[in-house]
Each structure stands twice: as C-alpha cells, then as structure tokens.
C-alpha cells in the first residue's frame, strides 16, 4: 500500500450564520493514497462539497475549518494564504460540477489554461501555450490549436469539462479533487469523461478524490469509498467490499436505490425521509430516523466508526457487539 498524499484528521467545518454556528462537516477522518481514486459518496447536503472546499481552502468567508488537513507534511488547515495559493492549482487541482459556468466567458480557453502555469511554474507564454495545446490533445480534444483561441460559449458541455480537466492537469498535480464532474453531463458524455479521468489516473501519478452521489461512478472508477451522511463518515471500505457486503443501513439503502437492469419490474427502492438540515443535529445516530433497523440506543448515543474487516469501517450500533453479524439484510437487490 502506498503512502497517503492527503490525510484529513478530525476535520470539522462550520459556518457562522445569523442563527449561530452551523456545523456542516463534523469530525471526519480519511486519507487519499498516492495514485489512488477515492470516492466520497452521499446524498446532496451531506457535506461532500464542503469537505472538498475545506481541503482547497476555498470556503466562503463565513466558513471555518478545525482539525488537520495534512498534504505532503503540510497542514493546510493552518497554512498561510500565500502557501495555500502556491498549492492550489499547482499540487492540488479541482474540477467542478458545472462545466457550463465554470469557465470565464470573457477570456479565451488558451488564456485560462496557461494562467496556472504562468504563476506556479513561471513559464513563458510561448512554452505555456505549447504545453496547453499538448494537454488539450491529451484530454481528447480535436483541433487543439484553434481551441486555444475559442471562447467557452463556442464549446459544448462535454468539451468544456474536458477543458476543465486539462486546466486542472496543467501543473501535473498530486491530487485532483473532482466535485461531481459528470452530474451536469448527459450519459454518453459522462462515460467518456470517466474514461478520460481513469486514463489520466493510470498514466500519471495523480490521485483523485471523486465526490459523487452516483454509485455507478464509484463502481467504475474508485478503489476505496467513503460514505458520508449528515456531515459524518458512516462507512469506509474498498470498492469490492462496499458493493458486495455493505454494512451501514444507509449504504445498503443507497445501493438498493440504484436501478437494476436485470428484469424484476418492481418499484425502485428509495430511502424514506430526507437528509437532516445542517444545524438541526439531534442526539444519537443521525440516520436513525430514516433507518429500518433503528433501535432504542440509536436515538440516544452516537456510534463510533468501528473497524470491521481490513479496510472496512462502519459507524453503526448494529455492528458494535455482534462484530458484523448484524441484522442488516445484505442482499443487494
């Protein structure tokens, strides 16, 4: 197993609002190994994006980070603005959900691509342009030379996301954070983008932190998965164990709500209820109100993240005493 490139320890992100401090990410631990693809999964509003913005240091002004975010020996949670800037876009890069609005409409693709090279690598304009053209070709864009002079509105959504990926890869970062990179794209383009990211991951030593709510993306790309619910990690496992042997009732619910192609025309499962609003944290397990296995204890005490097997951890009372022999229905329908 390779060494972790990013190590997040007891990360807690809170926002100061008019109604007091609201904790969105609550005490999470995870790591990303060099060169691997880590999936972070969960419904909307569970704190995935805030986690990624905390790592990037791009939270809005009212956001505050506690805990440690250690990247190559440097604690980003306590790094100076200047230090953060030298890492951002250089050693850690990010791709966003909305390719349609993530490129600046009034600058050419070329000028937006070479910016990072000019500041981080102190490259001349000409060198930077050549590298940018090479990167555009690498992400599978035809007629790269002409594209450099085009404006974002002249490109389709899929092309723009490829440009975003090329832009993120400009400085060959050690870590690429992809925040739902395929959500806004149509299905065929989604597959192409995932294929491209898998290719880049295998050809370079860039680790990817893939934030998604789509288990299909996880199955396709990730080696390890972290499942988040209401700002906490509820399960952490390698991808095979997660799909074969999901432990947490929430993970089981997520997997059951993926449509199955093999016949069985029945109503698609959905987890009852909604993600609790950040700030409306109740005692006990946050998932208990929606959980079919909830016990008395679940509403009173918060379970800890417990190791079950090698590389599988779960935060659920079902597994605390019985060590994995819980009542959870393990069949994946």
């Amino acid at each position: 197993m390779s060494s972790p490139v990013l190590n997040v320890h007891r990360l807690k992100t809170a926002f100061a609002t008019d109604d007091g401090e609201v904790t969105v990410v609550n005490d999470i631990d995870f790591h990303v190994n060099a060169g691997e693809v880590l999936g972070i999964v969960g419904e909307s509003g569970c704190g995935k994006s805030v986690t990624s913005l905390s790592v990037m240091g791009l939270l809005p002004a009212n956001g505050k980070v506690h805990g440690d975010i250690v990247f190559k020996g440097e604690n980003l949670a306590r790094a100076s603005d200047q230090k953060m800037r030298s890492i951002r876009g250089n050693e850690i890069a990010m791709i966003f959900q909305e390719p349609m609005t993530s490129l600046n409409p009034v600058f050419t693709i070329g000028s937006q691509l070479i910016e990072a090279l000019k500041i981080h690598k102190k490259m001349s304009k000409k060198q930077a342009q050549q590298l940018a053209i090479a990167k555009l070709k690498e992400v599978g864009l035809p007629r790269a030379e002409e594209l450099m002079k085009d404006f974002p509105h002249q490109l389709s959504g899929g092309m723009r996301q490829r440009v975003m990926i090329a832009m993120a890869m400009m400085c060959s970062p050690q870590l690429l954070i992809a925040d739902e990179p395929t959500t806004a794209l149509d299905v065929t383009i989604q597959a192409q983008i995932l294929e491209l990211m898998t290719k880049l991951n295998s050809e370079t030593d860039t680790a990817i932190m893939m934030i998604t709510h789509d288990l299909g993306v996880v199955a396709e790309m990730c080696q390890r998965v972290v499942v988040m619910y209401a700002g906490k990690i509820v399960e952490e496992a390698d991808v095979v164990s997660l799909f074969k042997n999901p432990k947490h009732p929430y993970t089981v619910g997520l997997i059951r709500s993926v449509p199955d192609m093999r016949g069985k025309k029945e109503r698609l499962y959905s987890i009852p209820g909604n993600v609790p609003k950040p700030g409306s944290i109740q005692t006990g397990c946050q998932f208990a109100p929606r959980c079919e296995h909830a016990m008395e204890r679940c509403f009173q005490e918060t379970p800890e993240l417990t190791s079950l097997a090698e590389a599988q951890k779960v935060r659920c009372w079902l597994y605390v005493e019985s060590k994995g022999e819980g009542a959870v229905d393990r069949t994946i329908s």
Binding site: E98, T101, S102, N104, P105, V106, F107, A116, I119, M167
Partner: protein
C-alpha cells in the same frame, strides 16, 4: 467584430434620419408663425407674408424637409432668429464647452466610481464598504445646485483655491482653435493657460460628476458582487490566482458589462442636462445656449440644439454597443 461594427454603424443611418424628421416635425407642430416672431408685434401683414415666403415656409412640409436635409449635409443648421448669425458658428463653441466639462466630469465619475465599487464589493460589509455606500447615497440625493454653491463658497471664497465661474481667466483670454480649451492650450504650448483651464474645470467637473459617480459606484458594486459569486471566479481561485488578479481581471471584465451601459447613459445625460451646473458656474455650454433660445423662442436654434444633443446620444450608444462586443465575446449579431 469588424462586420458587427459595420452593421452597427449602418444601423445608425435610419436612426439619425428618423431623429432629424421627428425634431423637424415637432418644431413645426408648435403654433405661431416664425416670421411674426422675427418681425415683432407691430409688423404689417404684408411684411410678414413676404418674410414667410422668403423663409420658404409657404412650401409644403416635405419640400421644406428636403431643403433642410440639404442644408444639414452642408453643415448648415440655419440662422438664429435672434442674432441673425449662422447657428453652426454659434453652436460649436457652446458644444465644445459642454463636451469638455462632461468629459472631465465623466473621468472623475468613472475612475472614482468604478474603483470605489470594486473595493466595496471586495471588502463587502466592511467599514470601507459602508462608508462608500453612504457617500454614494448622499451623492445621489444631494441637489446639484446646492452642492455647486457649497463648493464655490468653501473652496473658492473661503479658501480661495479655485476660480468660482467661467472657463478661463478673463484677463488672459484663450485664442480658440478647436474651442476645446484643454486641447487649444496644449496645441499652443501655453502651459500656464492649460493649468488655468484645469483649475476652472475642477469645481464644475466635481459638481457635475457627483451623481454619475455615485450611480456608477453602486452599479459596479452590485455587479461585482454578482460576478464574484459565480462558478468561474471559484475556478480562478482554485488555480491559485492572487485576489487582486481574481478581482481586477476575472471579475471586473464580466462586471463591467452592465456598468458600461450606465456610464453611457450618464454621459449622454451630462451632455444634454448640465444646465444647472452651467448656470451656477457661468459655463457657456450648450445647456445655457438652448435655455436662452427657448426663452426667446429662437426655434431654429432650439431645433439644432436638440438635434445635436440627440446625435451625440446616438453616438454614445454606438460606442457603448461596440464596447459590449469588445468586452463580451458572446455578443455577435
């Protein structure tokens, strides 16, 4: 861009023709016989009839219009009823005085207004922001005649720093070449006179520029706030760009699109509506000139004045439209 420019300039022709026609018809719709006005109350009926014929007013309106257009193409705006001088000779010095004053006022308004707006947005909800917005509110609400008088009282009379009225030192009159005195004194290389002209411009320039400055500052601030929330600004920050570069490059160019419209409108208003400032500061501008013409029912002068101001407005709009296309690559007709 070139074909857009040509097309946009081409669109001016019908606009200008229509404008000339409307102004021409409006003046003729006003009751009263110009010949009567010229000759006065005591004139004989015969004399009036003769002059009416001499002025071409017995011809049908379309013949008159054609004659008028022919004159316009030769730069002939007709003759003032009051002074019996060709209007084109009289009008230009006044127009030049107004253009010079409006130019200075807009320079002050744009430089201070845009920068104050940018920094306010950048430091949103800071004391600087509150201060700028308070001053802008006062600037918009303050009556210009009161502010002009206060300037004269404190700066000119109490502190004796700047002249109260006029365009030049009457003891050392400026030899007019273009009638734009800033330009004239520079052409003549007379630096002390140039300083004198600048001194005369400061107070009326500030008085006239205050309202546009306040409007521009507020517009820039709200536009910048909107832009700085957008996804592409997050992308720019994710690249590791410094805040000044994010604000002044990535945000400003996008935020300027609505601001340019406001600047154009304000510039047009200043050219036509500076009568208060011109009166207070004894500025021999086009506002005063038209005001005098209206008082003495000098119809040809009124007509020419309206025409010139409307034409300037049309040309400012042309410049605004061309600036749009230069700023925003998505605009292509």
């Amino acid at each position: 861009m070139l074909s857009y420019t040509i097309r946009r300039v081409g669109q001016l022709i019908p606009v200008l023709l229509g404008m000339v026609f409307i102004v021409f018809m409006m003046i003729r719709a006003i009751p009263g016989n110009p010949a009567q006005l010229i000759l006065g109350q005591q004139a004989s009926k015969q004399a009036i009839e003769e002059l009416t014929k001499q002025l071409g007013l017995t011809e049908p309106w379309y013949t008159q219009f054609v004659e008028y257009m022919k004159g316009l193409f030769q730069g002939d705006l007709g003759m003032s009823l009051k002074t019996r001088n060709p209007i084109s000779d009289e009008l230009w010095p006044h127009l030049a005085a107004t253009i010079e004053l409006a130019f200075v006022a807009m320079i002050i308004a744009v430089i201070i207004g845009v920068n104050a707006g940018i920094i306010s947005a950048w430091l949103q909800n800071s004391w600087f922001d509150y201060g700028v917005m308070l001053i802008a509110l006062i600037g918009i609400s303050m009556p210009i005649f009161w502010f002009g008088l206060m300037e004269q009282y404190f700066v000119s009379i109490q502190l004796d720093l700047l002249p109260t009225t006029g365009r030049e030192d009457v003891r050392a009159p400026i030899e007019a070449i273009t009638n734009l005195y800033l330009l004239d004194t520079l052409i003549q290389g007379n630096f002390s006179q140039f300083i004198e002209v600048v001194k005369h411009l400061i107070l009326p320039g500030i008085a006239l520029g205050t309202i546009p400055m306040a409007i521009i500052a507020r517009m820039t601030r709200s536009s910048m706030l909107e832009v700085m929330k957008s996804d592409y600004i997050r992308t720019a920050r994710a690249k590791g760009l410094k805040m000044p570069l994010v604000v002044y490059k990535h945000s400003l160019k996008n935020a300027m699109i609505p601001v340019v419209t406001v600047i154009g409108l304000q510039a047009g208003l200043l050219l036509g509506g500076a009568i208060l400032t011109e009166t207070i500061f004894g500025w021999p501008g086009i506002g005063t000139y038209i005001y005098d013409a209206i008082s003495s029912r000098d119809y040809p002068v009124i007509q020419s004045g309206i025409l010139v101001i409307a034409t300037l407005f049309v040309f400012i709009n042309l410049i605004v439209d061309l600036l749009y296309a230069a700023i925003d690559p998505r605009i292509k007709y």
